[in-house]
C-alpha cells in the first residue's frame, strides 16, 4: 500500500486542461524535473473545483507518495481555489517552503508575489502548491527538492516516538 518515499504525484489544476481544450505542459515539466532528481512522478489533471482538487491530493497522499505538487489555481481570479482546497487538508503548514518559492519567483517576475500557494503536511506527505506557469514550475521544483528528502526523513522519524 505504501509507495517508496522517493515518489511524487503532480496534480495539474486547470479547467481547460481537464476538459482537454489545452495540453497540460506544467504537469509534465514538473514530473520531468522530479525524474531528473531521482524521483518518480505521475500526473493527474483536475478542473478548478475544490472537491476535485482535495480528492486528488488525498488519493495521492493515501498512496503514500512523499510529495504532492499541485500546479495552477493559486492566483487571484475567482476560479483560483487551489489554496482553499488545500488548506483544510493540511495537518501542519510549512510556510517557509511557500515563502521561499514566492521569493525565488519574484526575483524574476513580480507576479510571483500573487501566488497564494501553500505548503504543508498531509499525513506523511509534503503537499506544495505551485502556480501554473512553466516558469513557476521550473523555479519551484528545485526549491522543493532542496528540502524534500529532509522532510521525508523527519516524517519517517515520526513513526518512532
Amino acid at each position: 500500500m505504501t509507495a517508496p518515499r522517493r515518489t511524487a504525484s503532480i496534480v495539474t489544476v486547470s479547467d481547460r486542461s481537464a476538459a482537454g481544450r489545452r495540453e497540460d505542459r506544467s504537469g509534465p515539466l514538473a514530473a520531468s524535473l522530479l525524474h531528473d532528481a531521482g524521483w518518480s512522478a505521475d500526473v493527474v489533471v483536475v478542473p478548478d473545483e475544490r472537491e476535485e482538487i482535495a480528492a486528488a491530493i488525498l488519493t495521492a497522499a493515501g498512496r503514500g507518495v512523499g510529495i504532492v505538487v499541485t500546479t495552477g489555481g493559486t492566483g487571484l481570479s475567482p476560479r483560483d481555489v487551489t489554496p482553499e482546497a488545500t488548506a483544510p487538508l493540511l495537518d501542519r503548514e510549512v510556510p517557509g517552503i511557500a515563502e521561499r518559492i514566492r521569493a525565488v519567483g519574484a526575483e524574476k517576475l513580480p507576479q510571483a508575489m500573487l501566488s497564494r500557494g501553500l505548503a504543508g503536511i498531509v499525513d506523511k506527505t509534503l503537499v506544495v502548491n505551485l502556480a501554473g506557469s512553466l516558469g513557476a514550475v521550473k523555479d519551484g521544483i528545485p526549491v522543493i527538492l532542496t528540502v524534500a528528502s529532509h522532510v521525508a526523513e523527519q516524517l519517517e522519524g515520526g513513526d518512532h516516538p
Binding site: E49, E51, A55, L58, G64, V122, D123
Partner: protein
Amino acid sequence: MIAMTQLSREPLDVAAHLEAVASPRAGASAVFVGTVRDHDPEAGGTVVTLEYSAHPDAERILAELATRADAEHEQDPTGLRIAVSHRVGALAVGEAAIVCAVSSAHRADAFEVARDVVERVKAGLPVWKRQLESDGTAGWVGLGGLEEASA
C-alpha cells in the same frame, strides 16, 4: 435490486433503510450500522469527532458497489433488496457513518449480503476520515485504506 443508495450530509435514518428494503417476499431483513467510536489505534487520546470528506464521484461509486454486490448474489431467485448510505461531514461519537439494510427470502442471504456490501464500501468508496481528539490534535485515519480510489 438496489432499493436506495445515498451519500448524505444529514444524519442517516436506520428505519428508512429498513422501509426501503421491506417487501412481501422478504422473510428476513438484516441491518448494519457503523458508528463513530471514541477510541482508535491511531489516536493518542479520546476521539470526539470524525470528519468524512468524499470524492466528488463517491455517490456514483457507492451505487456501483451496491449494484455489483447485488449482481454477484443473484442466485437468490426471490430477489434481494439492498439499501446502503454513507454519511459525510463532521460526525460526533455515536453517530452512524454507514447504514446498510438487506432483505431476502431467508436470513442467511440477508446477513451475508449485508456484510458483503459493507466490506465493499469500506474497501472501495473514496471517502477520507480525519479524526479530531479531545486535546485538539487532528489527523487523517487510514488514508491509504482504499483499494483503489477512482480518481
